[in-house]
Each structure stands twice: as structure tokens, then as C-alpha cells.
């Protein structure tokens, strides 16, 4: 008879924890959630999985052949001009970092005000988002980009003429090919009125423009917008990153002054998870394709390129500029700066714990992506009259300003280290890639080699 081994008898009970790569805990959770509800998950923010990104690039910095600038003293210019092609009044910004389009509806009016205030003090722009222009934002934001979206919610000629630039939105990085969503909890009376919708309905915005369909129509649509605004302000075209090379060429052909490309890491206030994680290409790959398209048309510097989708740091901005972008847009980073996913909020001169709020949503600080619920524990993505008080516009603006200033200082630090007295002089030659994927997508050499995967072939 076999006796169990001595040590096996006395050992503590073994718990098997062999995780499956295919059916990992996340997947099991997904399946059980689907089984329980029969409805896919809708959530906020952007793609959570790891994709090749700017972190996979590094700067080479100065060397024997490259002469650096003094980090704290010598001037490094950041002025950025967008829309020089046709507009009589191009957009002039003090820094190449702008606030991405985020709607009133997804955000509270107080947050829109905070964004506008910060942008005006920084000398940069904000963008309206779906749902129309609020007077809070127009009043507080010196340079305001007005979006022309498929839904056309609240779209009107008076606001159009008040805009400093117009952005025709074809798609968004979080969901190229999908329209917006705003769940009933967020359709309060004011939001409903601006969008001409009944209060409290689960609203889907259109995914296609109502009055044009293809690139040839877009030419005419842009011409109409120019006619209405007497060719004064720049017209941007924003695309979600998919067939970027073709889309950029078509946007330029259609007469865009500025092309905005939003990569798959770009955020949203409410979209199906399947969409966020599985449609679109990474910002890194999108940027290179966009730059190639402009170069081939000899349009670099004539049509400006704005890149967005997961821009977090000054290093990200510097790398984007070096790869050929003229400016970047930041959405999610701005939310985090205002306290998104923070464990507490500041109200009436004191900190208060937000933990209970996260718990009610079934999440915790650091993991929240529940913007779609309208129950934002820190008062950002909400239309609830009590919750929205958790964000003080002046304090929110101060945090945004600090965050953007930090990024801008990091940007100029890196530019000086590469010997540039203007951040727009950063160039591809200043960069190498750390991974094969990033090298191939960005068409940059793998660090320590001259090898660009795929170059010369494919």
C-alpha cells in the first residue's frame, strides 16, 4: 500500500492558482457579466490594453555632433499656429498642447468652464464636443474650436460664427465608425434642451453625417462652412485612426486647414468596451501614416497635423512633435488632472473621501471608468446638481494649468537636450525605438541599430 509522503500530509492545503492565458480572470469576469445581463459593457475612458506607444521610443539627445541648449536659460519657443492654409484668421497658440473635444453632457458645465479658464491662461484652445457650445465655455475660453458632428446637436449659425475654428468630426479614436452615446442619467433638462431630445432617454448620436457621405461631398461641405463663416476661421477635419494614410490625403484634398488624428487610446464618455479595445490603430502607427500622407502631398507645414489618443506627458508631446505632429490634444489626461480616479475631492475648503462614491459604482479609485453612469464620484462626468459641486471650476482650472505647464516644461527640456531652440524643430532623426513593434510602426531604427523593420520592403 502506498503511504502519502510525510511532508505532503503535514503541508498546508495547496490552492491551485494556475491562470489560463486565454480565459484569464478578466475574460471570466467578462463572460459572467455578459451571462448575467445579456448586454455588452458600456464604459468611459480609452483602451486599457497595452499597445505600442510613445513609451517605446527614446530621444538620442545631444552628442559630439549635436550641440545642446542650456536647460533653464536659453529660450525654447513653443508658439504654434494652426490653420494657415485658407483661413484669414489662423489659430495662434502659446503651446502645442490643446484640450481635446469633450462634450457638455458628458462633462458638467463647471468642468467646461474649468477647461476654458485653464486654456485661456495657458494660451491654448478647447474644443466643444458633441452637444453644442455652452456659454460657460465660450465666455471662459479664448480660443474655442466648434465641432460639426454627425448628430448636429445644438449646432447653429450663431455659435458657428462665434467659433475660432471649426472641426468636422468624421470619427473618434475610441470608436471609429460609431456614434456617441449618452445614457439617460446624464440627459438632464438643460442637456436635453440643447440636444432637442426628451429628458432621461438613452441617447445614441448618429454615426454618419446627415448631409454628406463621401470625400467628394466633404469638399462641398467644407466649402459651405467656409462660405457661412466668410473664410475667416480654420476648418479642421478629425478622423479616428483606421485607414489614416488615405483619410489624411482625402481630408487634405477636401480642403482641410488642419487634420486631427485620434488614435485608439483616445477616450470616450460612453462606448462599448468591444469597440474601445478592438477598433482602430495605435496613436504611434497613426501618426507615422498621417505624416507620410502629408509628406507625399507636399503638405507638411501647409496643412497642420494634430495628434491625440493617450498623450499623457511632456515626453509624449515631444515624441509626437519629433515624429511630425504640429500639436497634440489631451482629453483623458485633463480629467485625471482635475481629480478623475482620485480618492477624494475638494469642496467648501476641505478634502472629502470619494471612496463611497466609487463603491456605489462597483469600482475603486484607480480603476474607475464609469463616466457613462453620470455618477462621477469626483464631480467631473456628471449632470447631477449635487455631484457636480465636487469640482470647483477655479481649482480645476489651476490643476489643469499646472499639468499643462509641467508637460510644456518637459517638452522644452527635451527639445533643448536635442539642441532645438524651437519645439517644432524636433525631428525624427532625434528618435529611436526600443521595441520591434514600435520600430516598425513608427518607421524608426531599433535603438543601437540602423534597422527599421520593413523599411525597403513591404
Amino acid at each position: 500500500m502506498n503511504k502519502p509522503l510525510e511532508h505532503a500530509v503535514h503541508a498546508p492545503k495547496r490552492v491551485s492558482r494556475e491562470e489560463s492565458a486565454g480565459f484569464d480572470r478578466r475574460t471570466i469576469d467578462y463572460i459572467q457579466n455578459a451571462a448575467a445581463h445579456g448586454l455588452y459593457e458600456i464604459r468611459g475612458l480609452g483602451a486599457k490594453r497595452r499597445v505600442p506607444h510613445f513609451d517605446d521610443l527614446v530621444f538620442l539627445g545631444a552628442s559630439v555632433t549635436r550641440y545642446p541648449l542650456e536647460g533653464y536659460r536659453e529660450k525654447c519657443h513653443t508658439k504654434t499656429v494652426l490653420g494657415t492654409r485658407f483661413a484669414k484668421k489662423p489659430v495662434e497658440l502659446a503651446i502645442p498642447i490643446t484640450f481635446a473635444g469633450m462634450s457638455f453632457g458628458s462633462l458638467s458645465a463647471r468642468v467646461k468652464e474649468a477647461l476654458g479658464r485653464a486654456a485661456s491662461e495657458l494660451g491654448t484652445s478647447t474644443t466643444t464636443g458633441d452637444g453644442g457650445m455652452t456659454q460657460e465655455e465660450r465666455r471662459s475660453s479664448k480660443t474655442l474650436v466648434y465641432q460639426c458632428l454627425p448628430s448636429r446637436y445644438g449646432f447653429n449659425p450663431d455659435d458657428l460664427r462665434k467659433a475660432d475654428a471649426i472641426e468636422v468630426v468624421v470619427g473618434q479614436g475610441a470608436k471609429p465608425g460609431g456614434g456617441g452615446m449618452l445614457l439617460g442619467q446624464k440627459i438632464n433638462p438643460r442637456v436635453a434642451k440643447m440636444r432637442t431630445l426628451p429628458e432621461g432617454i438613452d441617447q445614441r448620436s448618429a454615426c454618419r453625417h446627415p448631409d454628406w457621405t463621401g470625400p467628394d461631398d466633404l469638399v462641398i461641405k467644407i466649402q459651405e462652412l467656409r462660405e457661412i463663416t466668410d473664410w475667416q476661421v480654420p476648418i479642421y477635419v478629425k478622423v479616428g485612426a483606421t485607414r489614416v494614410y488615405n483619410d489624411v490625403k482625402l481630408a487634405v484634398h477636401a480642403g482641410a486647414d488642419v487634420v486631427v488624428v485620434d488614435g485608439m487610446q483616445g477616450g470616450t464618455a460612453a462606448t462599448q468596451t468591444a469597440f474601445i479595445e478592438h477598433v482602430g490603430i495605435p496613436t504611434l502607427a497613426a501618426l507615422r501614416q498621417a505624416v507620410e500622407a502629408l509628406e507625399e502631398m507636399d503638405m507638411r507645414g501647409k496643412v497642420q497635423l494634430v495628434i491625440s489618443g493617450g498623450i499623457r506627458t511632456g515626453a509624449d508631446v515631444a515624441k509626437a512633435l519629433a515624429m511630425g505632429a504640429d500639436a497634440v490634444s489631451v482629453g483623458q489626461g485633463a480629467l485625471f488632472a482635475m481629480g478623475c480616479n482620485h480618492d477624494s475631492y475638494w469642496q467648501d475648503g476641505a478634502w472629502h473621501s470619494a471612496e463611497a462614491g466609487y463603491e456605489q459604482l462597483g469600482t475603486a479609485p484607480g480603476f474607475c471608468h464609469h463616466c457613462h453612469t453620470g455618477r462621477c464620484p469626483v464631480g467631473i462626468t456628471t449632470q447631477d446638481p449635487l455631484l457636480e459641486l465636487r469640482l470647483d471650476p477655479a481649482r480645476g482650472a489651476a490643476h489643469l494649468k499646472n499639468y499643462f505647464k509641467t508637460m510644456n516644461m518637459e517638452l522644452t527640456t527635451l527639445a533643448r537636450a536635442c539642441g532645438k531652440s524651437n519645439v517644432h524643430h524636433l525631428e525624427r532623426e532625434d528618435l529611436v525605438a526600443l521595441t520591434l513593434e514600435a520600430a516598425a510602426m513608427a518607421k524608426l531604427p531599433l535603438a543601437g541599430t540602423n534597422w527599421i523593420p520593413g523599411a525597403g520592403g513591404l
Binding site: H37, G38, L39, S151, R152, F155, N156, P157, D158, L160, R161, L183, G184, R195, T196, L197, P198, I201, D202, R204, A206, P210, D211, W212, D217, I220, K221, Q223, E224, E227, I228, T229, D230, W231
Partner: protein, 228 residues
């Protein structure tokens, strides 16, 4: 006073520039547009009570984003006539191509002939009266306002309707998702009567049926197998 723009020699840019800036200071109350020859963006973004007569065919977006002006096109028009109109009146004597009155917020659009696909798409308060028939997918996602169709309607009428109301005199080939035929009430007869008079048509309101939203798509519902 009257002023004429001949687009055979002049440009749409000059016309629109005058309508936006010169008009308000002038004593011009009527603008004649000669030889439009299908040009795009004729009389867009006007914000003045002026009478504009377009003597021929227009291209895309005639009267786009109009406020206050009365615009008459003595011919046919291309896509998106009176798109996003806020107020005023746009009248097309001939036929209108796709997306007539798209996302209009107010005012009245009259198409005396037929209107093509997606007439009244995303409308947000505009009143549209079509003397003839409309193409497929008309009033798609229409949010507010009225669409009166004196002829027939194509496939998928009123798909994903919100609060806009459609009145049809002729045959409806098919209704779109969440659109349903409803009984006419006294208020409906009065509304149709008023809209027909505004448009200058003499049909009897009792000949019309009402189509409005069943409001079944207003909220997510997993059990309804909605293919969102």
C-alpha cells in the same frame, strides 16, 4: 430695393459676402440670383429678413443654416437644401435631392416636387412640406418638427424617430424601426391644415395619416434584442 447677382460672371463668394455683411446696411429687400447653374452653397448662413429669388437650379446646401430669409428656388436643388435651417422659409419649385432639410432646427422648407432619400434626416424642429413623394429613410432619427408628405414615402420611413411627427397622404412603402402609424387627432388635422396652407397646397387634411415614434428604443433593453 432689388439687387441682382449673376453667377454666370460673378461668384457665390461675392453673393454670400453681400448677404452676410453688405445687406444689413443697405436698403435691399430683394436679391435676384441669376444663372445659378447648379452652384453649391448659394445663400448660406443668411441672418436677415430678405427675399432671395434663385432663377434656376441650385447645387448642394442652398439656403444652408438660414435664419429669417425667404429663399425661393425656381428649379431643382442638390443635397442638403436648407440644412440646419433655424428660421425663415425655403421653397423649391422643382425637385430636391438627398437630405433635404437635414438637421433643421426651425423655419419651413417647402419642396413642390419630390424629395429624394433621407428627407428630414435628424430634423430638430423644422417643418418640411413635400408636394410630391419622398425617398427611402426619410426622417431618419428625426428629433422634432413636422414632415408632411403629400405623395408617397419610400422604405424605412421614420427609422429611429424621436419626437418629430410625420404626416403622409399617399402610400408608405415601409416604416423604419420604432416608427408606427397612429390615429389622427383634432390637433393633427389642425396642424396639417396649417402646414398645407403655409406651403400653399390645397389637399384635405383628412387624407393624411400620422406616423410617430413608438418610443421603444428610448431605453436600453437587453430582452428586446435590440441590435445596438
Amino acid at each position: 430695393m432689388e439687387k441682382t447677382f449673376d453667377l454666370a460672371g460673378g461668384s457665390v463668394r461675392d453673393l454670400n459676402q453681400f448677404l452676410h455683411t453688405g445687406l444689413a446696411q443697405s436698403s435691399v429687400s430683394r436679391v435676384e440670383v441669376a444663372n445659378p447653374n447648379g452652384a453649391h452653397s448659394i445663400a448660406v448662413g443668411v441672418d436677415h429678413p430678405v427675399d432671395i429669388q434663385v432663377r434656376g437650379h441650385g447645387g448642394y446646401y442652398v439656403g444652408g443654416m438660414n435664419k429669417q430669409a425667404t429663399i425661393t428656388v425656381h428649379g431643382n436643388v442638390g443635397w442638403g437644401v436648407a440644412e440646419n435651417m433655424m428660421s425663415g422659409l425655403v421653397r423649391v419649385k422643382g425637385f430636391a435631392s438627398e437630405s433635404a432639410g437635414a438637421s433643421g432646427h426651425g423655419g419651413t422648407l417647402v419642396v413642390e416636387g419630390d424629395a429624394s432619400l433621407r428627407c428630414g434626416i435628424s430634423m430638430k424642429g423644422i417643418d418640411i412640406v413635400v408636394g410630391g413623394s419622398v425617398g427611402n429613410y426619410s426622417a431618419f432619427m428625426a428629433q422634432a418638427g413636422h414632415l408632411v408628405i403629400c405623395g408617397d414615402a419610400g422604405e424605412g420611413l421614420g427609422d429611429s424617430l424621436y419626437e418629430a411627427v410625420i404626416y403622409v397622404r399617399g402610400r408608405i412603402r415601409s416604416l423604419g424601426a420604432d416608427a408606427q402609424e397612429e390615429p389622427m387627432t383634432d390637433a393633427d388635422y389642425l396642424k396639417v391644415d396649417e402646414l398645407l396652407k403655409r406651403a400653399g397646397f390645397s389637399h384635405n387634411p383628412t387624407e393624411f395619416k400620422r406616423v410617430a415614434s413608438a418610443r421603444q428604443l428610448y431605453h436600453w433593453n437587453a430582452d428586446a434584442d435590440q441590435e445596438y
